[in-house]
Amino acid sequence: MGAGNVRFSVEIVPRDPLWRTCIYAMMVDRLGFDTIWLSDHFFNRNVFLTTAVIAKWTSRCLLGPAVVNPYVIHPAIIAQSIATLEEIAPKRLIMAIGAGDETSLARLCIKRENPVDRVRESIHAIRRLLAGEELTSHDSILCFSSAKLETKTAGDVPIYVGAQGKRMLIMSASHADGVLINWTDLDRLSEAIKTIKPIISSRKGFDIGAHLIISIHEDIAKARKTAIPFAAYLMAGSNNALLSEIGVSDEERNLVRRLLISGDWDRLYSVARDEWIRVFSFYGTMVELRDFIDELLNQGFTHIVFGGPWGPRPRSALLSIAKLVSELKPNMGRD
């Protein structure tokens, strides 16, 4: 498949001081990427406030808070935030919602119950609220009583789902406008796309995104080291079935979790194993990244999201990724 209609986007984690996030956002905007996805974790900068600031520092890219979590933020507040952002940056909003990882939710004493139902009901509630509808619902998943936004409507903001598991993928394909599949290894991405393709065959325009964790450098050891904390974070938040499948014991996961929370990076680097680093991240050279992206395009992905850390030299890595994308998609709009 050619890359002409494929979207190439960048995920920015609002962990840095805002001035640095704005610099990266300007870079991404000027380099011609399609979307800036901004990740949402309670311990980083607030995703909606950051999106509002970024909107004023960029002019072209779509802006997507992602993946916002309906356990942490009530869907009505998500809809309110999106409607307000749409007013700040008209026609530039997109969003993704997902059930999040157990590690982060546990730190807020939130149980991740009925994740697929919760995300599905949230999609519908957000969509209806953005369209200006009044909601009343007293089911066990979400509760509304004459809830209605008094903001401008923003019913055409696309809603994606951040998904990994089979049930979440199937639900996304049926109810969302697109999916961001949170895997970075080819086998799992391939399985995921096989799961959703039969469902989306009748849904024109459904966007299939691979949300990748990327670390590139010509020195592979440096690329690997940079990828480890990101892969570790994802590994530590994964469910037991997956961990068992990739040969990670409870003991190993708990150790990694402790090292992440305490910020003991040297110890983390020494215990990290390729068996799980490779499942949750891509690290390597630009040539290897090119082969990897080609394979994803062949599989039918229509949206590639380059998530951080990008590499030990993130600015250079971003410039190299933009060059790669411009080779794949020569008409990519640049500033």
């Binding site: 640095r20 520092w57 030990p312």
Partner: protein, 77 residues
């Protein structure tokens, strides 16, 4: 306009500022000034150089001094 050497030095210092794990050591006024200069496409000026240098010295003083020493050596040749 900056000389070619100083422009290359600025690029290297900017890389340091954007890769540093200590960005919070950069004072917000300096960080925002840097962002404004980039937005206004005025980074490659004397003011831009001074701002990037200030930011780099704040977050990665040792790396910055090392780079400055290297450029001074090259400049003397």
């Amino acid at each position: 306009m900056l000389s070619r050497g100083k422009r290359a030095l600025l690029e290297e210092l900017l890389e340091i500022v954007l890769a540093s794990v200590n960005p919070s050591l950069v004072r917000d006024e300096v960080g925002w000034e840097l962002a404004h200069l980039i937005r206004e496409r005025k980074l490659h000026t004397e003011r831009g150089y001074r701002t990037v240098l200030k930011a780099a010295m704040s977050c990665e003083p040792e790396k910055t001094k090392k780079i400055l020493r290297r450029y001074r050596r090259v400049g003397r040749r």
